[in-house]
C-alpha cells in the first residue's frame, strides 16, 4: 500500500475524531498483543499454581490470579486471540454468504429473489442466540464452530441491505447504459454492482466485527464457545461468577477487555460510516438495521 493510500485510509478511519483515534490505537495494541501473546504475557496462561490462588491484583499479577492460581492478565492477553479471530472470521463468513445472496437476489429478481428473501426472513425471525447455540452443539466444539455458528446467524441482514442496494443500482443510468451496450450479466455485476456496493459493505463489516465479538463472548459465557482450559474472555467472566463476592477481579478484568475492545471497534466503525457515507444513505437507518440484526444474540 502506498503512503498516500494509507493516509487516506487512516483519514477515513479516524477523521478528526479523537475517540476514533484512541479506538484505532487500542485496536492496534490488542492486535499486536494477541499476535505476539507469548512475548507480552508474564506467565503461562494455563499454568496452575495452587499456592497463588485468588491473589488480589498486585504489581506481580496486575489483574490478580484465579482460583487455580493462573495469572488473569496473561489469560486476558491470550483470550484476545480468540475474540479477534472469531470477530474477523465470522464477519468474513457472514459477508460472504450475505453478499452473495444479496447480489443474487437483487440482480436475478423473480423466483430466486423470493426464495432468498424467505430464507432471510426465516433466519431473522429465529431467536438468533438459540440458533447459534444449536449450531455450536451440532458441530464439534472449537473456534471454527463458533465462527461458523455466528456467520450462519449473522448473514441475513447483510443480504437484505445488499439486495436493496443492488435494486437501486440496477436502475442507475450507467448500469442501464452498460447493459444496452451489450455487457453480459456477469460483466455488469463484476464491473458495476460489486464495486459500488463495496463502501457500504466496508462500513457494515466494520460495525459488525464488534457484535460478533460480543456474541462470541456470550457463547463462551454459556460454556458453548472455545472450550476450557483455553482462555476466552466470555469464559473467564463465567468462571468468575462463582467468586463474584470473594474475588470480583476474576470477572471484572476480562469483561473490561471485551467492553473496551468492542467499544474501539464500534467507535472506528461509526466514524468510518460518517466519513464514507457523507450525504449517502447510511445514517440513522443503519442503527435501526443493526439493532434488528443483532437482536437478542446479545440479550
Amino acid at each position: 500500500m502506498s503512503g498516500g493510500r494509507l493516509k487516506r485510509l487512516l483519514e477515513a478511519l479516524v477523521g478528526r475524531s479523537l475517540l476514533a483515534g484512541l479506538g484505532l490505537s487500542f485496536i492496534a495494541v490488542v492486535v499486536i498483543v494477541a499476535l505476539f501473546a507469548p512475548l507480552f504475557a508474564p506467565y503461562d496462561p494455563l499454568e496452575v499454581d495452587l499456592t497463588a490462588s485468588k491473589l488480589r491484583p498486585s504489581p506481580e499479577h496486575p489483574f490478580g490470579t484465579d482460583d487455580l492460581g493462573r495469572d488473569i492478565f496473561s489469560r486476558v492477553i491470550y483470550g484476545a486471540r480468540i475474540s479477534l479471530s472469531v470477530g474477523f472470521l465470522a464477519t468474513g463468513l457472514a459477508l460472504l454468504i450475505g453478499f452473495s445472496f444479496g447480489l443474487l437476489s437483487g440482480y436475478a429478481g423473480g423466483a430466486v429473489d423470493r426464495a432468498v428473501m424467505s430464507l432471510t426472513d426465516i433466519t431473522l425471525a429465529f431467536p438468533s442466540l438459540l440458533l447459534a447455540i444449536g449450531v455450536t452443539i451440532v458441530l464439534p466444539p472449537g473456534i471454527v464452530t463458533v465462527f461458523i455458528a455466528l456467520g450462519l446467524v449473522g448473514w441475513a441482514s447483510f443480504a437484505r441491505i445488499i439486495r436493496g442496494l443492488v435494486l437501486e443500482l440496477r436502475e442507475k443510468e450507467y448500469v442501464q447504459a452498460a447493459r444496452s451496450a451489450g455487457s453480459g450479466g456477469l460483466g455488469v455485476v463484476r464491473r458495476h454492482l460489486i464495486p459500488n456496493c463495496l463502501p457500504t459493505v466496508v462500513v457494515l463489516a466494520s460495525l459488525q466485527v464488534g457484535s460478533f465479538m460480543l456474541a462470541e463472548a456470550a457463547l463462551s459465557f454459556l460454556g458453548l464457545g472455545v472450550q476450557p482450559p483455553v482462555p476466552t474472555w466470555g469464559g473467564m467472566v463465567n468462571e468468575g461468577r462463582d467468586f463474584l463476592l470473594s474475588a470480583p477481579w476474576f470477572s471484572v478484568f476480562p469483561g473490561m477487555a471485551i467492553a473496551l475492545t468492542i467499544l474501539s471497534f464500534n467507535v472506528v466503525g461509526d466514524t468510518l460510516r460518517t466519513n464514507i457515507s457523507r450525504g449517502g444513505s447510511l445514517g440513522a437507518v443503519t442503527d435501526v438495521r443493526r439493532r434488528r440484526e443483532e437482536k437478542e444474540v446479545l440479550a
Binding site: I122, P127, V237, L244, A259, A284, E296
Partner: protein, 307 residues
C-alpha cells in the same frame, strides 16, 4: 390497508413452517440421543429401544416431522421428555415472567433513551452531546452478562440495596436489576436514533415557523419536533421488544429469572426436543408479531408510507 394486513398475516405461516423445519433438522443433527439422558447410564438396550419407540424416535425423520406438524395443527406442542409436562402449558406459565421483564426493560430503555437523545440533540456538539455519544457507545459495547454481574456486585453486594437474583414473589425490587441489564443496550440505541432524528427534524422549516410564531422552546421541542422525531424509534422499540419476548437467555440465566429464555436453553442442554421446538416456535411467532404490530403502527402514524 386491510389487504396489506391480511397479506402480512398470511406470510407468517410459511415463515413459521420454515422455522420448524430448521429447528427440527438442527435437533436431529445434534449428536447424542435424548433417550440416554432420560433412562440413565445403566438401562438395558431393550428399555432404551422401548423408550425410543414410545417417543417415536425410531421412525424416519420425515415421519417424525409430519407427526409434529399434525400435533401442532391440533394446538399441541407435545410434552417435555423429562417432566412429561405439556410444553404449551409451561410456555403459558413462563410467558408472563418474560413479558414482565421485557416490559420493564423497555420502559426503562424508552424513558432513558429518549431523554438522553433529546438532551444531546439540543446541545449538538456540546458537552452533553459528547457525553451522551460516549455513554451510548459504551453501553452498546458492553456485554450484557458482564454488565449484569457488575450491577449485582455494586447494588447487591456492596450497597446491599437490591436482591442479587431470583423473582421474590413478584416484588418490584427483584425486577430492577434484570430490567436495567436487559434494557441498557436498547436505551443506548434509542438515544442515538432519537438524537439524529431530532437533529433532522429541528432543521425543518415548520419548526422555524413554530419558533417564529412565538411558541416557547419547550413547546416547540416537546410537542412539534418530538412527535415527528419519534417515528423511527417505533421500529427500534418493536425489534427490541420482539426479541425480548423470545426470552432474554443471558439476562434470565444471570438473574435466575424463570422465563422462556432459561426454559429454552435448559431444553437445548438436555436435548429436550419438544421444549426446544415449542419455545423456538413461540419465540419466533412473538418476534414476527411484534414487528408486524410495529409495522402497522408505523404506517398509521406516518402517512407517507401508508398504502
Amino acid at each position: 390497508m386491510s389487504r396489506y394486513v391480511v397479506h402480512k398475516l398470511l406470510l407468517i405461516i410459511p415463515t413459521l413452517i420454515g422455522v420448524t423445519v430448521i429447528t427440527f433438522l438442527l435437533l436431529k443433527a445434534i449428536p447424542g440421543d435424548p433417550v440416554y439422558g432420560m433412562v440413565g447410564p445403566r438401562a438395558s438396550p431393550e428399555v432404551i429401544e422401548a423408550m425410543r419407540k414410545d417417543l417415536g424416535l425410531d421412525r424416519g425423520i420425515v415421519v417424525q416431522y409430519c407427526r409434529y406438524l399434525r400435533l401442532l395443527l391440533k394446538g399441541d406442542l407435545g410434552n417435555s421428555y423429562y417432566t412429561g409436562y405439556p410444553v404449551g402449558k409451561s410456555i403459558i406459565e413462563k410467558f408472563p415472567n418474560t413479558l414482565k421483564l421485557a416490559a420493564a426493560a423497555m420502559l426503562f430503555a424508552v424513558t432513558l433513551g429518549i431523554v438522553m437523545g433529546i438532551l444531546a440533540s439540543l446541545n449538538e456538539g456540546g458537552v452533553i452531546d459528547r457525553a451522551v455519544t460516549v455513554v451510548s457507545a459504551s453501553c452498546i459495547s458492553t456485554p450484557v452478562f458482564w454488565f449484569g454481574l457488575i450491577l449485582i456486585l455494586v447494588f447487591a453486594t456492596y450497597l446491599k440495596r437490591l436482591p442479587p437474583a431470583g423473582m421474590g414473589n413478584g416484588s418490584i425490587a427483584y425486577l430492577i436489576l434484570p430490567a436495567v441489564t436487559l434494557g441498557t443496550r436498547s436505551a443506548a440505541y434509542i438515544a442515538r436514533v432519537t438524537r439524529s432524528s431530532m437533529l433532522e427534524v429541528l432543521g425543518e422549516p415548520y419548526i422555524r415557523t413554530a419558533r417564529a410564531k412565538g411558541l416557547g422552546e419547550a413547546k416547540v421541542v416537546l410537542k412539534h419536533a418530538l412527535k415527528c422525531a419519534l417515528i423511527p424509534i417505533i421500529t427500534l422499540i418493536g425489534v427490541d421488544f420482539g426479541s425480548y419476548l423470545n426470552g432474554a437467555v443471558l439476562t434470565e440465566t444471570i438473574f435466575g429469572w424463570d422465563g422462556l429464555g432459561r426454559f429454552a436453553i435448559n431444553g437445548i442442554f438436555k436435548r429436550d426436543y419438544p421444549v426446544v421446538l415449542g419455545t423456538v416456535l413461540f419465540g419466533s411467532l412473538m418476534f414476527i408479531l411484534a414487528n408486524l404490530i410495529v409495522d402497522f403502527i408505523y404506517r398509521w402514524v406516518n402517512p407517507r408510507v401508508r398504502l
